[in-house]
Protein backbone atom coordinates (compact mmCIF):
# COMPACT_ATOMS: atom_id res chain seq x y z
CA UNK A 1 0.00 0.00 0.00
CA UNK A 2 1.27 3.35 -0.82
CA UNK A 3 1.53 5.69 2.04
CA UNK A 4 -0.47 8.77 1.37
CA UNK A 5 1.08 12.06 1.89
CA UNK A 6 -0.81 13.44 4.76
CA UNK A 7 -1.10 17.10 5.43
CA UNK A 8 -0.21 18.18 8.91
CA UNK A 9 -3.33 18.30 11.04
CA UNK A 10 -4.68 21.62 12.18
CA UNK A 11 -6.88 21.84 15.23
CA UNK A 12 -10.45 22.74 14.29
CA UNK A 13 -11.58 25.93 15.95
CA UNK A 14 -14.83 27.70 16.39
CA UNK A 15 -14.36 31.44 16.15
CA UNK A 16 -15.40 32.82 19.50
CA UNK A 17 -14.36 36.40 19.03
CA UNK A 18 -17.84 37.54 18.02
CA UNK A 19 -19.51 35.56 20.78
CA UNK A 20 -19.07 38.39 23.27
CA UNK A 21 -20.57 40.84 20.77
CA UNK A 22 -23.64 38.69 20.39
CA UNK A 23 -24.12 38.29 24.11
CA UNK A 24 -23.50 41.99 24.65
CA UNK A 25 -26.27 42.78 22.24
CA UNK A 26 -28.58 40.38 24.05
CA UNK A 27 -27.63 41.95 27.36
CA UNK A 28 -28.31 45.42 26.03
CA UNK A 29 -31.65 44.31 24.68
CA UNK A 30 -32.72 43.01 28.06
CA UNK A 31 -31.38 46.06 29.85
CA UNK A 32 -33.35 48.36 27.62
CA UNK A 33 -36.59 46.44 27.43
CA UNK A 34 -37.07 45.68 31.10
CA UNK A 35 -39.17 48.32 32.71
CA UNK A 36 -39.16 48.06 36.42
CA UNK A 37 -42.44 49.79 36.97
CA UNK A 38 -42.84 50.76 40.56
CA UNK A 39 -46.37 51.09 41.72
CA UNK A 40 -47.00 54.54 43.07
CA UNK A 41 -50.10 55.71 44.76
CA UNK A 42 -51.80 57.06 47.82
CA UNK A 43 -51.87 54.50 50.60
CA UNK A 44 -54.79 54.25 52.94
CA UNK A 45 -56.03 51.87 55.57
CA UNK A 46 -59.75 51.27 55.60
CA UNK A 47 -61.62 50.94 58.86
CA UNK A 48 -62.90 47.54 59.85
CA UNK A 49 -66.35 46.64 58.70
CA UNK A 50 -68.92 46.94 61.42
CA UNK A 51 -72.53 46.02 60.68
CA UNK A 52 -74.84 49.06 60.82
CA UNK A 53 -76.69 47.85 63.92
CA UNK A 54 -73.47 47.69 65.95
CA UNK A 55 -72.17 51.06 64.89
CA UNK A 56 -71.75 53.63 67.56
CA UNK A 57 -71.53 57.32 67.09
CA UNK A 58 -68.78 59.10 68.95
CA UNK A 59 -68.98 62.81 69.49
CA UNK A 60 -65.89 64.62 68.35
CA UNK A 61 -65.35 68.24 69.20
CA UNK A 62 -65.60 70.61 66.26
CA UNK A 63 -62.16 71.93 66.96
CA UNK A 64 -60.57 68.53 66.35
CA UNK A 65 -62.28 67.95 63.03
CA UNK A 66 -61.50 69.20 59.60
CA UNK A 67 -64.47 68.22 57.53
CA UNK A 68 -63.90 68.07 53.82
CA UNK A 69 -66.95 67.58 51.68
CA UNK A 70 -66.84 67.12 47.95
CA UNK A 71 -70.24 67.52 46.41
CA UNK A 72 -71.47 66.17 43.13
CA UNK A 73 -70.47 69.29 41.21
CA UNK A 74 -66.89 68.92 42.28
CA UNK A 75 -66.95 71.81 44.74
CA UNK A 76 -64.88 71.20 47.82
CA UNK A 77 -66.11 72.51 51.14
CA UNK A 78 -63.83 72.73 54.16
CA UNK A 79 -65.91 73.10 57.32
CA UNK A 80 -68.80 74.35 55.28
CA UNK A 81 -66.96 76.98 53.24
CA UNK A 82 -66.07 76.52 49.60
CA UNK A 83 -62.35 76.20 49.02
CA UNK A 84 -60.19 75.71 45.94
CA UNK A 85 -58.44 72.34 45.93
CA UNK A 86 -54.85 73.70 45.84
CA UNK A 87 -55.56 75.80 48.90
CA UNK A 88 -56.53 72.91 51.14
CA UNK A 89 -52.90 72.25 51.99
CA UNK A 90 -52.18 75.72 53.31
CA UNK A 91 -55.38 75.68 55.25
CA UNK A 92 -54.74 72.37 56.95
CA UNK A 93 -51.05 72.78 57.71
CA UNK A 94 -51.36 75.31 60.56
CA UNK A 95 -54.16 73.25 62.04
CA UNK A 96 -52.03 70.11 62.07
CA UNK A 97 -49.04 72.02 63.40
CA UNK A 98 -50.99 73.50 66.28
CA UNK A 99 -51.79 70.00 67.52
CA UNK A 100 -48.31 68.46 67.37
CA UNK A 101 -47.74 68.70 71.11
CA UNK A 102 -51.21 67.57 72.09
CA UNK A 103 -51.85 63.98 73.24
CA UNK A 104 -52.83 61.49 70.59
CA UNK A 105 -56.54 61.64 71.39
CA UNK A 106 -56.61 65.33 70.57
CA UNK A 107 -54.90 65.29 67.18
CA UNK A 108 -56.61 66.59 64.10
CA UNK A 109 -58.96 64.28 62.25
CA UNK A 110 -59.49 65.01 58.61
CA UNK A 111 -62.76 63.68 57.40
CA UNK A 112 -63.25 63.31 53.68
CA UNK A 113 -66.78 62.87 52.56
CA UNK A 114 -68.00 62.56 49.02
CA UNK A 115 -71.22 62.32 47.19
CA UNK A 116 -71.96 59.18 45.23
CA UNK A 117 -71.78 61.20 42.04
CA UNK A 118 -68.47 62.89 42.77
CA UNK A 119 -65.76 62.10 40.26
CA UNK A 120 -62.98 59.91 41.55
CA UNK A 121 -60.45 62.38 40.21
CA UNK A 122 -61.69 65.14 42.52
CA UNK A 123 -61.52 62.78 45.46
CA UNK A 124 -57.92 61.84 44.70
CA UNK A 125 -56.96 65.49 44.24
CA UNK A 126 -58.42 66.32 47.64
CA UNK A 127 -56.88 63.31 49.34
CA UNK A 128 -53.58 64.24 47.74
CA UNK A 129 -53.74 67.70 49.28
CA UNK A 130 -54.49 66.25 52.71
CA UNK A 131 -51.61 63.79 52.45
CA UNK A 132 -49.33 66.52 51.14
CA UNK A 133 -50.04 68.77 54.09
CA UNK A 134 -49.32 65.93 56.52
CA UNK A 135 -46.07 65.09 54.73
CA UNK A 136 -44.94 68.70 54.80
CA UNK A 137 -45.69 69.04 58.49
CA UNK A 138 -43.75 65.83 59.14
CA UNK A 139 -40.82 67.07 57.10
CA UNK A 140 -40.74 70.43 58.83
CA UNK A 141 -41.04 68.85 62.24
CA UNK A 142 -38.21 66.40 61.65
CA UNK A 143 -36.07 69.11 60.07
CA UNK A 144 -36.49 71.21 63.20
CA UNK A 145 -35.85 68.32 65.56
CA UNK A 146 -33.28 66.15 63.78
CA UNK A 147 -32.07 68.35 60.96
CA UNK A 148 -33.14 65.80 58.38
CA UNK A 149 -36.20 65.17 56.33
CA UNK A 150 -38.65 62.52 57.46
CA UNK A 151 -37.62 60.00 54.81
CA UNK A 152 -33.96 60.25 55.76
CA UNK A 153 -34.51 59.51 59.43
CA UNK A 154 -33.85 56.11 60.93
CA UNK A 155 -36.72 53.87 61.93
CA UNK A 156 -36.84 54.89 65.58
CA UNK A 157 -36.89 58.59 64.87
CA UNK A 158 -39.49 58.08 62.19
CA UNK A 159 -41.82 56.45 64.65
CA UNK A 160 -41.31 59.38 67.03
CA UNK A 161 -42.33 61.78 64.29
CA UNK A 162 -45.19 59.51 63.32
CA UNK A 163 -46.48 59.58 66.89
CA UNK A 164 -46.29 63.35 66.93
CA UNK A 165 -47.87 63.82 63.53
CA UNK A 166 -50.15 60.87 62.89
CA UNK A 167 -52.11 60.82 59.67
CA UNK A 168 -55.72 60.41 60.65
CA UNK A 169 -57.99 60.48 57.67
CA UNK A 170 -61.54 59.37 58.04
CA UNK A 171 -63.33 58.36 54.89
CA UNK A 172 -66.96 58.93 55.55
CA UNK A 173 -69.46 56.90 53.61
CA UNK A 174 -71.44 58.96 51.17
CA UNK A 175 -75.06 59.47 51.86
CA UNK A 176 -77.42 57.29 49.96
CA UNK A 177 -79.38 60.25 48.69
CA UNK A 178 -79.02 60.89 45.03
CA UNK A 179 -78.44 57.35 43.84
Amino acid sequence: MPILNRKPRTEPEIPTASMSDISFLLLLFFLVTTTIDIDTGIGLTLPEYIPPEEQKTVEISKERMAALLINENGDVLLDGAVIAIPQIKNNLKPRIESKIELPSNKKLIVSVKTDRKTFYNKYIQTLDQVKLSYFEVRDEYSLAKYGKKYNELNVDDQSVVRDKVPIIISIAEPEKIGT
Binding site: F30, D39, G41, I42, G43, L44, T45, L46, Y120, Q125
Partner: protein, 137 residues
Protein backbone atom coordinates in the same frame (compact mmCIF):
# COMPACT_ATOMS: atom_id res chain seq x y z
CA UNK B 1 25.61 54.92 21.27
CA UNK B 2 22.82 52.82 20.22
CA UNK B 3 19.36 53.51 21.46
CA UNK B 4 17.52 50.77 19.91
CA UNK B 5 14.17 49.85 21.12
CA UNK B 6 13.71 46.33 22.12
CA UNK B 7 10.98 44.81 20.15
CA UNK B 8 8.54 42.74 22.06
CA UNK B 9 9.06 39.19 21.22
CA UNK B 10 5.45 38.09 21.27
CA UNK B 11 2.22 39.85 20.47
CA UNK B 12 0.42 41.24 23.48
CA UNK B 13 -2.91 39.52 23.76
CA UNK B 14 -5.76 40.15 26.08
CA UNK B 15 -7.44 36.88 26.71
CA UNK B 16 -10.96 37.34 25.48
CA UNK B 17 -12.09 33.78 25.73
CA UNK B 18 -13.70 34.28 29.13
CA UNK B 19 -15.34 37.55 28.13
CA UNK B 20 -18.36 35.83 26.74
CA UNK B 21 -18.71 33.82 29.92
CA UNK B 22 -18.79 36.98 31.99
CA UNK B 23 -21.31 38.62 29.74
CA UNK B 24 -23.45 35.52 29.69
CA UNK B 25 -23.56 35.44 33.45
CA UNK B 26 -24.63 39.09 33.47
CA UNK B 27 -27.24 38.31 30.87
CA UNK B 28 -28.54 35.38 32.87
CA UNK B 29 -28.70 37.52 35.97
CA UNK B 30 -30.86 40.09 34.25
CA UNK B 31 -33.03 37.49 32.62
CA UNK B 32 -33.68 35.79 35.92
CA UNK B 33 -34.26 38.87 38.02
CA UNK B 34 -36.68 40.64 35.69
CA UNK B 35 -40.15 39.45 36.36
CA UNK B 36 -42.33 39.70 33.34
CA UNK B 37 -45.62 39.23 35.07
CA UNK B 38 -47.68 41.17 32.65
CA UNK B 39 -51.32 40.95 33.36
CA UNK B 40 -53.68 41.48 30.58
CA UNK B 41 -55.91 44.40 31.36
CA UNK B 42 -59.34 44.16 29.83
CA UNK B 43 -60.62 47.53 30.92
CA UNK B 44 -59.72 50.98 29.73
CA UNK B 45 -58.63 53.40 32.37
CA UNK B 46 -56.57 56.52 32.88
CA UNK B 47 -55.16 57.14 36.30
CA UNK B 48 -55.52 60.40 38.19
CA UNK B 49 -52.43 62.39 39.04
CA UNK B 50 -51.21 63.14 42.53
CA UNK B 51 -48.19 64.67 44.20
CA UNK B 52 -48.09 62.92 47.56
CA UNK B 53 -47.53 59.45 46.18
CA UNK B 54 -45.64 56.72 47.95
CA UNK B 55 -43.99 53.69 46.50
CA UNK B 56 -45.55 50.40 47.37
CA UNK B 57 -42.74 48.56 49.02
CA UNK B 58 -43.65 44.95 48.54
CA UNK B 59 -44.84 43.87 45.15
CA UNK B 60 -45.66 40.33 46.19
CA UNK B 61 -48.38 41.51 48.53
CA UNK B 62 -50.27 43.45 45.93
CA UNK B 63 -53.54 42.42 44.40
CA UNK B 64 -54.65 44.59 41.55
CA UNK B 65 -58.13 45.87 41.06
CA UNK B 66 -59.05 47.86 38.02
CA UNK B 67 -62.16 49.85 37.42
CA UNK B 68 -62.51 50.91 33.84
CA UNK B 69 -64.25 53.91 32.39
CA UNK B 70 -67.20 51.65 31.58
CA UNK B 71 -67.42 50.70 35.28
CA UNK B 72 -66.33 47.14 34.77
CA UNK B 73 -64.23 45.68 37.56
CA UNK B 74 -61.21 43.54 36.93
CA UNK B 75 -59.69 41.76 39.88
CA UNK B 76 -56.18 40.45 39.16
CA UNK B 77 -56.82 38.59 35.92
CA UNK B 78 -60.53 38.39 35.36
CA UNK B 79 -63.53 40.61 35.06
CA UNK B 80 -65.67 40.18 38.14
CA UNK B 81 -68.95 41.42 39.44
CA UNK B 82 -69.11 43.72 42.41
CA UNK B 83 -70.67 41.01 44.59
CA UNK B 84 -67.84 38.62 43.84
CA UNK B 85 -65.11 40.94 45.10
CA UNK B 86 -65.71 40.04 48.71
CA UNK B 87 -65.45 36.27 48.36
CA UNK B 88 -62.43 36.40 46.05
CA UNK B 89 -60.56 38.82 48.26
CA UNK B 90 -61.46 36.84 51.35
CA UNK B 91 -59.82 33.77 49.82
CA UNK B 92 -56.86 35.86 48.79
CA UNK B 93 -56.45 37.23 52.26
CA UNK B 94 -56.20 33.77 53.75
CA UNK B 95 -53.17 33.08 51.58
CA UNK B 96 -51.64 36.51 52.11
CA UNK B 97 -52.84 37.98 55.41
CA UNK B 98 -51.49 41.46 54.79
CA UNK B 99 -52.49 41.85 51.20
CA UNK B 100 -52.50 45.34 49.72
CA UNK B 101 -55.13 46.12 47.14
CA UNK B 102 -53.87 48.48 44.51
CA UNK B 103 -56.89 50.27 43.12
CA UNK B 104 -56.43 51.44 39.58
CA UNK B 105 -59.57 53.38 39.05
CA UNK B 106 -60.35 55.49 36.04
CA UNK B 107 -60.49 59.14 36.99
CA UNK B 108 -63.98 59.69 35.65
CA UNK B 109 -65.62 56.93 37.65
CA UNK B 110 -67.99 58.24 40.30
CA UNK B 111 -67.35 57.74 43.97
CA UNK B 112 -70.42 55.56 44.49
CA UNK B 113 -68.68 52.78 42.62
CA UNK B 114 -65.45 53.25 44.55
CA UNK B 115 -67.28 53.27 47.86
CA UNK B 116 -69.17 50.10 47.00
CA UNK B 117 -65.89 48.34 46.24
CA UNK B 118 -64.38 49.64 49.44
CA UNK B 119 -67.34 48.31 51.39
CA UNK B 120 -66.79 44.89 49.84
CA UNK B 121 -63.10 45.05 50.70
CA UNK B 122 -63.93 46.02 54.26
CA UNK B 123 -66.24 43.05 54.56
CA UNK B 124 -63.41 40.84 53.31
CA UNK B 125 -61.05 42.45 55.84
CA UNK B 126 -58.73 43.70 53.12
CA UNK B 127 -58.07 46.98 54.79
CA UNK B 128 -54.83 48.07 53.22
CA UNK B 129 -55.49 49.78 49.95
CA UNK B 130 -53.55 51.98 47.64
CA UNK B 131 -55.11 54.40 45.23
CA UNK B 132 -52.83 54.08 42.27
CA UNK B 133 -51.92 57.44 40.84
CA UNK B 134 -49.31 58.69 38.45
CA UNK B 135 -46.83 61.23 39.71
CA UNK B 136 -47.67 64.81 38.94
CA UNK B 137 -44.62 66.85 38.11
Amino acid sequence: MKFQKKRAQSKANIPTASMSDIVFILLLFFMVTTTLREQEVFVKYSLPEAKAVEKVENKRLISYLWVGNDKRIQLNDAIVKLEEVQSIMYGKRQLLPNVIVSMRVDKNVDMGMVTDIQQELRKAYCLRINYSASVKI
